[in-house]
Amino acid sequence: MSAAPTVIGTPLDVVDVKGNSMTLSMGPQHPSTHGVLQVVVEVSGEIVEKAEMEIGYLHTGIEKSAENLFWTQAATVIERMDYLNPLGNALCYVMAVEKLLGVADHIPERARAIRVLLAELSRIASHCVWLGTGGIDLGAISTFFYTFDVREDILDLLEQSGGARMHPNYIRIGGLNGDLPAGFLHRLDALIAKFPQRMRELRALLQNNPILRDRMIDVGIVSGADAVAWGLTGPSLRASGIAYDVRKAFPYCGYERYEFDVPTRDDGDAYARFLVRLDEMDEAMRIVSQVRKELDAPGPIMIADPKIAPPPKETIALSMEALIHHFKLVSESFRVPPGDVYQAIESPRGELGYYVVSNGDNRPYRVRTRPPSMYNLQALKLLAPGNLIADLVVMIGSLDPVFGEVDR
């Protein structure tokens, strides 16, 4: 049937025909695999008998790169793991380093509040991509345009504050890179005002749509016990009834002072995961509205420790001390006392954790990521057999993997 198979993950060329079943390679280039995933499926007609996943098509060696960069530089490569939530990656890593430095309690209030604001806006933006691409998988192409319009508003805010739509490197060790520019809060208010109407439109389009319900209800059911056994976290776990949210269980960055609910469902199917994420978008905006009230008062956005925080640019030409500190920080960076720490946040995909080890040097000794997408995706092995290929597509979408994080 074909030339000798090219062995990369598993043979790509081979279409194996054994009795009634056929082995096909779905991916790594595929419109519905949400990135570079290869699922080698053994199908009998349209029914999947076995699904073997091959990952690693985006392995970037980020953890090794981080070991060869300064503590501040490592944040830039770490941001590129979960590329739908770069500020979240940076936040988690930066908090871990701040704990090792012993300055976690000294981060200024305003910086802390802006971090929460951006983390929640990122959550909404990430869920917008999930919903848009999930809709395309099902054939509901209009959803994409609605959700990406909301996302554009959020990316405008991220660009205004951090300088870039994605990967702004705005959350730094000790605080933030700079204060919010003039006009930001005005734009944020406009978004807060227009968001409820947008969500109503999305819900009206989708939530009770009979085709969507048909495609998602009772597809990819994960029981609570299975979800825990397979290490699911985030909306995938909460849709199976287990209300574990890192923001409530191990509050960080001041989340304990905001009022928000943790949406949970009991059905454990793709529809439940869909509803949980929609509710999470509303809850995230609820947090954003509360944080907004704290941002009118001015304040510092970087810790006042000259050994960690670079001096303000305008002082470098005037003060010898500022010049020397700047030079030392840029050429050699600061050293972090030895020790190891595990810091976790609630990313849109689940518990994102960093296990950071320092041996006292000016570079991380090890940054191990706890990638929620990798563990969420693994559950597909449990879910796929016995379902249609079309259901497989829905299941991948409902688990919401990001391959920058799965492969790193």
Binding site: I55, V228, G339, V341, Q343, E351, R368
Partner: protein, 208 residues
């Protein structure tokens, strides 16, 4: 106390995991490889039902050389509310493993999601997990040689390790210094020159 005067333990035999900074992130347990599986089983029976992650660290120069780190979470397995989930407990199990062929017993019989995590550690560190259903590479191509995340593996890979990092070089398929040619290039050059207020070859625009 962050400071450029912090003594580095780089190059010393001091183990970063032995230094316990005042951080309350998890209960820490260190076990020997022989007792690892029993300890994990006991922890799971004691309520630590969710395996968050298995990671490895290469402490080159220390004996045992590697640490394999298990992050566990004590979580209910039946539907719960935020109130009943409460504050889950975290535990971090560190297991030092070394030798010329480092190996540990697999945890896939306790938690199915240990599968990929152990494959990744095998791929990137070369630690074998005995009893694993299919221990093969997961991130690197299957015919890759070496274990990239080990400290003695060069960052840029053995193939490129000796080549210097390129200085800034024009990426084009003509030799550097060749003037650009063709309609598109010329139009672009003209537009750039006009934007800069410079005189263009055909006389349009003026020098600022």
């Amino acid at each position: 106390m962050p400071s450029s005067q912090v003594p580095s333990i780089a190059g010393t035999a001091l183990d970063p995991t032995a230094v316990r900074p005042p951080i309350d992130d998890a209960e820490i347990v260190r076990v020997a490889p022989a007792k690892l599986h029993a300890k994990l089983e006991a922890l799971r029976a004691g309520g630590f039902s969710l395996l968050l992650d298995i990671g490895a660290v290469d402490y080159l120069g220390r004996d045992p050389r590697f640490d394999v780190v298990y992050h566990l979470l004590a979580l209910a397995t039946s539907p719960s509310t935020v109130a009943s989930v409460g504050v889950p407990r975290r535990v971090r199990v560190l297991c030092g493993v070394g030798g010329t062929e480092p190996a540990l017993i697999t945890a896939t019989d306790l938690w199915p999601n240990a599968d990929w995590a152990e494959r990744e550690i095998y791929d990137l560190y070369g630690i074998v997990f005995t009893g694993h259903p299919q221990l093969k590479r997961i991130q690197m191509p299957h015919d890759w040689e070496g274990h990239p995340l080990r400290k003695d593996y060069p960052l840029r890979g053995p193939a490129r390790e000796a080549t210097p990092r390129p200085a800034f070089a024009l990426k084009s398929n003509v030799p550097a210094g060749t003037p650009p040619a063709g309609n598109v290039a010329a139009a672009l050059q003209k537009r750039i020159a006009l934007a800069r207020g410079q005189r263009t070859p055909d006389g349009a625009g003026e020098k600022s």
